[in-house]
Amino acid sequence: MNRVCWRLADLASQLLERDERDVVCGDLSEARATGPQALREVVGLVWRRQLLLWTEWRPWVALATLGVPLGLLLGATAAVWTYTDAIYAWLYVDNWTWAYIQSPGSRLELERHVVSFAFRVAALTSASWASGFVIAIFSRHAFWVTGGLFCLAVLGAFAVTMPTVAEQHAAVFAVTFYRVVLPPLAATMLILIPSIWGMRSAFRL
């Protein structure tokens, strides 16, 4: 328990400035604080620091003009694209036939879908990276909260905007992968991971 609390305190202290983290951890070592005491002290300081950040206008503007709108837009776009791509993936992967390549018309159609899919993946991941980067730049140290709310907005919009399965597509979404696994996988791979990467890149500047 003691070790777990110290580990958690160490993790929480990563949210502090480097100098302050060293000073506080030094104080706790000197006072021979127990794990729970260290955790309480560090979390209390992090909490106060975050609250103080939100007394300024900058994080609020970043949240209202960037974090939430971009999260909703990316989540909604990804939901619609995931629905469409699930149908084509089912068509070309689950129901593969060489006729797709042998017939010139089908081959052209397949090529068109592959290019279009690659374009959408590239567009969504780069937009997510750029969103994460800009949000972190404008939020500064409040980006943990702004970034967290951005991720919530993405997931919320994704869940709400995901189209209702049409009758003619019922066979596609009867497959567990397309119904259960693909939506969260797409949201994670195409938006959350690139945007968190973008935030990390901004933070390292």
Binding site: D22, V23, V24, G26, L28, E30, E41, W47, R49
Partner: protein, 108 residues
């Protein structure tokens, strides 16, 4: 500018500790004097506020082995801080004149 109660406690503790004034020592001094817990969050956010007001100055000290090789945040009260603490003390003394907080027998 009148100080807050906790700000006064911090300035007084730092002044009492002199060259040995740093975060953990001030915290221990306040806890001993008030017999209540002083949180690290309150300590360092107040320290920042007092420094912004120019009432004290802080700098990073040398790392020590008992702190796992981590530095202290050393504190020194400025002349402006000393004046603010003296003003606060005088205000408390003035407002307390003629008042006794020692419970008298027969009063609840």
């Amino acid at each position: 500018m009148l100080l807050g109660e906790f700000e006064y406690l911090m300035l007084t503790a730092a002044a009492r500790l002199g060259d040995e004034a740093y975060g953990a020592a001030i915290k221990a001094e306040i806890e001993e004097a008030t017999r209540t817990r002083c949180s690290t969050g309150a300590l360092y956010t107040t320290l920042d506020r007092l420094e912004e007001k120019g009432l004290l100055r802080t700098w990073m000290g040398d790392p020590t082995p008992e702190r796992g090789g981590r530095p202290k945040r050393m504190v020194r009260v400025t002349a402006k801080g000393a004046r603010a603490a003296a003003d606060f003390y005088r205000a408390v003394a003035r407002v307390s004149r003629g008042v006794s907080w020692v419970p008298r027998r027969g009063t609840s």
